[in-house]
Symmetry: C3
Subunit: 207 residues, 3 copies
Amino acid sequence: MVWVDPLDPFAVANVVGLLAFAIAGALKGADADLDLFGVVVLGVLTALGGGMLRDVLVGRVPVALTTTSDVTVVLVGLAFAVFLTRRLDRRLRDHPAFLLSDAVGLSAFAATGALVGAGAGVSPFGVVVLATLTGVGGGSLADLLLTRVPAVLREDFYATPAAVGGVAFVLARVAGLGAPVPSVACFGAALGLRVLALRYDWHLPSV
Amino acid sequence: MVWVDPLDPFAVANVVGLLAFAIAGALKGADADLDLFGVVVLGVLTALGGGMLRDVLVGRVPVALTTTSDVTVVLVGLAFAVFLTRRLDRRLRDHPAFLLSDAVGLSAFAATGALVGAGAGVSPFGVVVLATLTGVGGGSLADLLLTRVPAVLREDFYATPAAVGGVAFVLARVAGLGAPVPSVACFGAALGLRVLALRYDWHLPSV
Amino acid sequence: MVWVDPLDPFAVANVVGLLAFAIAGALKGADADLDLFGVVVLGVLTALGGGMLRDVLVGRVPVALTTTSDVTVVLVGLAFAVFLTRRLDRRLRDHPAFLLSDAVGLSAFAATGALVGAGAGVSPFGVVVLATLTGVGGGSLADLLLTRVPAVLREDFYATPAAVGGVAFVLARVAGLGAPVPSVACFGAALGLRVLALRYDWHLPSV
């Protein structure tokens, strides 16, 4: 029953990310006055949607539909979020601890996207796309359900760290470095860049 | 040429659902002032989109693209809907017979989603997701094309019956009941709950 | 390194289409005030999104993620578009040369959609759906990201040529004509119809 190995840094990062993403999605749904079903859908989709896009694109049945461990984590996050929206204020999303958890999730998801892509034999471009999409796809799908332009296209230095993580993965592979160096490089580059962007309020230029 | 066996209740329920969903989608498109192509797309997508999402998620080519029987039914529904929008008034959608046909379709689609998911070896969570998505996915995709928040996230006790049908399917399987009991349980639970929700105007709480 | 055979008319048409679609998507993103990442996403999605939908529906890993030639063309188009938005005016989109390039791309993409569908064994309806979706899917996904109703559902005689190209492909196959006649018929029918629609300002009736 110990399905998260506490000594595996990626497993821990993945759980942190699933919790942060599920909570963020559920709060987003509650703010949009969805009913309980809608709040659950937004939370589940934000947490698991990026990985589902990744799996559909490489032609395998989404792991979110075949395993139960990730889903259990997401449901715990959702229950917490629903409790939060009733009892506590909603400014949690600006709290540094929440932003850091979200950044950890983004980076862990980017690393799984790059790994799955490389395993499926995609091109370097494909690795970068899958790293980015796994990181930001869930939140973007949730935005689309609410008919909002995905925040990552407009607002923030958020997708770029995931893409740069994908590039770091490719470079580490080109340099001949064996596992787990490429995934660690991806995770580290994405997390470092995201934390710096938050700390110094970086933005991409508009064209 | 007899591709619908009138003694197979699911085949009949599926045809009823395809007709109801195609008509509902086409009327939705006509109300949104789409051109003829757009009206056809909305009708086809509403009727076949849920099953296409289901098939893509389990990694098979959508049956809507490989068989012709379902498409024929949908096109008949579309022709009827286009005729309707020109000649008759549009309040059809609130007519009890239409609402019941729609509920039959929702329940039949939920049952196929659960069956296909179980056949692909997904988890219990996956069965519930696929039952729900097959039932409400087509209408939600149509809403998204019109840049509307899918109605199922906000308005109605509509997705919940499909999800409960998925749960009934899982429970029947866990109880060791053989086919066709799980699908019948799914269909029956979804239809009963949907009809009760319509009859007594049930709504989910918002969070 | 010569990955486009200049004697292969489809390869040339495909490159023309990728360039036109990438530029159109990037300009659309710039007009919507996206940041640089968003502009790149819109351009890449407009050019490669239709083919990705096509590949996901027939159950293969999108060629856009496994090969590099198409992506290289798209990136050249994007660099040109970003340069354009800074230096030149944006009325390029109404220039006859641009509209013709776009029509060439639409028709080439419809032909690849029909070919891939036929190769995957889909029904005649599936061939028409895949031809249409490959032609208009990328632009429609870009519209959805910007929360706009896809233009093809409302505004223009744009999707119809792709669908008619799919029908021409099916008819040529039914008539027993061997490759490359069906794809040439698809390309020719789509291009002819699109150019006529532009020249004479054709529109579909609304229902």
